[in-house]
């Protein structure tokens, strides 16, 4: 007769044998609360309601260099706030930025995914401070979250990288499971992933691509970004997918050593996040002329546009168009953005000029070519009353557009223009 355990092993199958077999060889169970953890991770124990969790504090001075960028280059103005930072948030944002990055036991989310490391960073008196809360045992989670909550309560804006869809919802879930109120729910939130994508997605193209990084050159991961903006290349960094396994190893066998690199990874992420945010804020501060590439100028224009700063948006797009490094697609996109802003500013001739330049491009994306032809047809028919040119642009539109409804509209326009041209030709005869 087989025992229940044997039958269960058969059911669970697979990798079990490896684990079960090596059980005897595992090092003796080390108590996770032993001081070895604090020593290896270089932190100190904090206690709250009888539960201990580990806190790791670090301070970075202005002279600290992250690649080619010194921390001093990334410090905010003396009042602690870049005036145009709110352009990066959806709406207004307060001062006292709190940078947050979590390391978790998985990416699934939900009740069984824990944030075993809550990394927090902030600027203070010309330095950058990092405080990491490490979940040394699951029972300490409530105490840890309370401590994070207290730190968060002082902040005015939370800054993350992809935190809108991952970090913040996850930590909110942890707070909710303990019936605690999260400080991040109502707080203004800058998720740097989105502005970074706008401005720097293609920056990587002209820089040597590191083979060890598995992501494509067009991706916008934080580690790729810091390489481009700060010239910082991480050495011996932990791959993201490895992180949960290292924590589980600590939980099951009590070995904290592999976690030291995870904490360092988290600190580097926070530093990079702060410097990337600073770079974006400074760019917006310095205005369109500060842009160093077409993509950057275009991204800045979009941010100004969203924030209602139309004049800055227009000159950013103009700068993007003039950049030599722009490829045709990017230039078409910039011209289109320029034309749209010009039209909103009622500078119709500027808009028409941009649309004409779109049509002059050798490799213009079809949808933009269609849009340009239509806009020019409208412009010439209604504003310039140049029916011949309007007719030409309408014909060009019919050349590139395959959408049935839009083609019908264009044919209708063509018929109307023909009528107008006829009546204009007939008018002199009537007069005499």
């Amino acid at each position: 007769m087989t025992t229940l355990s044997d039958r269960l092993r058969g059911v669970i199958g697979g990798g079990l044998k490896v684990h079960g077999g090596s059980k005897e060889q595992d090092p003796p169970h080390v108590c996770p609360d032993s001081d070895a953890v604090a020593e290896v991770l270089d932190g100190e124990w904090h206690e709250r309601s009888g539960q201990r969790y580990l806190v790791v504090d670090r301070m970075y001075v202005p002279g600290y260099r992250h690649g080619s960028m010194a921390l001093a280059d990334g410090l905010p103005p003396s009042d602690g706030m870049w005036p145009r930072l709110s352009l990066l948030a959806n709406g207004s944002c307060g001062s006292r930025l709190l940078f947050i990055d979590l390391e978790t036991t998985g990416i699934a989310g939900g009740a069984g995914t824990y944030a075993f490391l809550v990394g927090c960073g902030w600027f203070a008196g010309g330095t950058f401070r990092i405080r990491q809360f490490f979940l040394s045992s699951f029972t300490a989670e409530r105490a840890l979250l309370e401590a994070v909550g207290e730190l968060g309560a002082d902040a005015g804006t939370v800054v993350t990288y992809n935190g809108k869809s991952f970090d913040v919802p996850l930590i909110e879930t942890r707070f909710a499971l303990h019936r605690l109120t999260s400080p991040f729910g109502e707080m203004p939130h800058i998720d740097m992933l989105h502005p970074a994508r706008r401005m720097w997605r293609h920056v990587q193209k002209d820089v040597p691509y590191n083979d060890q990084q598995q992501d494509a050159p067009s991706s916008c991961r934080l580690s790729t970004l810091e390489q481009q903006l700060c010239g910082y290349v991480r050495d011996g960094d932990v791959a993201g997918f490895e992180i949960p396994a290292r924590y589980f190893r600590y939980v099951h066998a009590g070995d904290p050593r592999p976690l030291a690199a995870v904490l360092e990874h988290n600190r580097l992420d926070l530093l990079s996040l702060a410097l990337v945010t600073a770079r974006a804020a400074q760019l917006l501060e310095d205005g369109p002329t500060a842009a160093r590439s077409a993509r950057e100028a275009l991204g800045m224009g979009r941010l100004y546009e969203r924030g209602g700063m139309m004049a800055e948006a227009k000159s950013s797009f103009a700068r993007a168009i003039e950049f030599g490094d722009a490829d045709e697609d990017l230039r078409a996109e910039a011209l289109r953005a320029y034309a749209m802003v010009a039209r909103r500013l009622r500078q119709y001739d500027d808009a028409a000029d941009a649309w004409r330049r779109v049509l002059g491009l050798t490799e213009c994306p079809r949808p933009i070519e269609r849009e340009a032809s239509e806009a020019l047809a409208v412009h010439h028919e209604h504003r310039r009353r140049d029916f011949v040119s309007a007719r030409d642009f309408t014909l060009r539109l019919l050349d590139v557009d395959e959408n049935v409804t839009r083609r019908q509209a264009a044919e209708y326009r063509l018929a109307r223009l023909d009528r107008k041209l006829e009546s204009r030709a007939a008018q002199p005869a009537l007069l005499f």
Binding site: L16, S49, T105, A108, G112
Partner: protein, 399 residues
């Protein structure tokens, strides 16, 4: 109307489930542990939950952590540990609502472009998606051109034909553990237990060895083919009927006819069992063998054994890994199963076998009906080992 009493005198229907199927239970425990940690004193279901969690810990799925989650609890709670989920995966992702295993085969239609038109569970893949099988989706017929067993894909092409295919599966059942029944069974048999039947845990290995082509509407057998597919194995639960050596010896028929009788009887028992269990034909499987390890029967005739052992066993097993709760109730209905099988065969108007009773003649041989009935009658009159050899005028079963 042939059996009005079946309808009018029947008891309300019963539902048979097995909430303790280990495969399902383990998945449930994983999903539950993800959502909220179990405590170390918690119980759930018939099995020892703590033992389940212990084995899950061996696999790194959970971790036994000391102390209680809620720090406000009384000091007494300190004894109580919790089982924390310690795996990256989201366990509910791996649970299939349609079958026990989430492993499956996908069916790819290559008639035009490659389109996925369906999927089947891993267990039923070989028998429904072997090469040359006819696969039917929304009344359209497809023929399987290639089965990529490793890649779990079957490539099919639309076809116009007038037959379907039926896989011939050879199944070998080995008894692992007898839960109850059988005069000679190892399990704790009681006075009330039927003398020739048992239920318990079995190992089933099955292999699709060929297929038949069956014509639509007439069900004529219009051809066959051989196949060589990997063996599939599972642990499940089964009911089985042992035909004692004495009964086999007492049958006044040739060896071939005796074999046909056992095969025919198993065919009829399946019909009745699926009625009693209120299940689909595919939910249960039938196999004939001695139930011993190392037995290698000679297979030629449609995947069925050429000979049967001196003391054959007819297995009716749950066709799902871990069992879904059919075997024990079937064991409890043993008498009804045998009586109804007898009535089905005796009451069938066919000459010597048809798909309703012992199976079509071509399948089972001309004497199957008569021999099957004789076996049932001898079993009925043989509560134990005592048996009058060569009793030609065996007492008929009361209907």
């Amino acid at each position: 109307m042939r059996n009005p009493s079946y309808f009018f005198d029947a008891s309300p229907e019963h539902a048979l489930i097995n909430p303790d199927n280990l495969h399902i239970l383990v998945d449930h425990v994983k999903c539950a542990a993800f959502e909220l940690p179990f405590t170390t004193s918690e119980e759930y279901g018939r099995h020892n939950l703590q033992e389940v969690l212990g084995v899950l810990e061996e696999g790194g799925f959970v971790h036994r952590a000391a102390g209680s989650m809620d720090s406000q609890r009384a000091e007494g709670a300190h004894e109580d540990g919790v089982w924390q989920w310690t795996n990256e995966s989201y366990p509910a992702d791996a649970v299939s609502l349609r079958s026990i295993s989430s492993d499956n085969f996908v069916v790819v239609d290559t008639t035009h472009d490659a389109d996925v038109i369906g999927e089947t569970s891993f267990n039923s893949g070989p028998s429904t998606l072997h090469e040359k099988a006819i696969y039917i989706v929304e009344a359209a017929l497809y023929q399987v051109e290639k089965l990529d067993f490793e890649g779990r894909k079957a490539y099919v092409r639309q076809i116009d034909c007038d037959y379907y295919t039926d896989a011939i599966t050879y199944t070998k059942v080995t008894v692992l553990d007898t839960f109850a029944g059988g005069a000679s069974g190892s399990g704790g048999s009681t006075q009330q237990d039927p003398p020739h039947s048992c239920h318990g845990e079995v190992h089933v290995s099955s292999r699709v060895v060929g297929f038949k082509k069956i014509k639509f509407y007439t069900n004529e057998n219009v051809g066959s083919g051989e196949l060589d597919l990997p063996e599939q194995e599972m642990h499940t639960t089964a009911y089985w009927l042992t035909i004692p050596r004495e009964v086999m010896a007492a049958l006044p028929y040739a060896a071939d006819d005796r074999r046909d009788g056992v095969v025919g009887l198993s065919f009829a028992m399946r019909q009745v069992a699926q009625l009693l269990l209120m299940c689909d034909r595919h939910d249960i499987g039938i196999s004939i063998g001695s139930g011993e390890q190392g037995e290698q029967p000679d297979l030629t005739r449609m995947g069925q054994p050429v000979t049967v052992s001196d003391e054959p066993r007819i297995f009716v097993y749950d066709n799902y890994p871990g069992g879904v709760g059919f075997s024990e109730p079937l064991f409890r209905m043993d008498e009804e199963l045998r009586r109804r099988t007898h009535d089905l065969i005796a009451g069938c108007e066919c000459q010597s076998g048809c798909p309703t009773c012992v199976g079509p003649v071509g399948n089972t041989g001309p004497m199957a009906k008569r021999v099957a009935l004789r076996i049932l009658e001898l079993l009925h009159s043989t509560p134990s080992t005592a048996l009058t050899a060569g009793a030609d005028a065996a007492p008929a079963l009361s209907a």
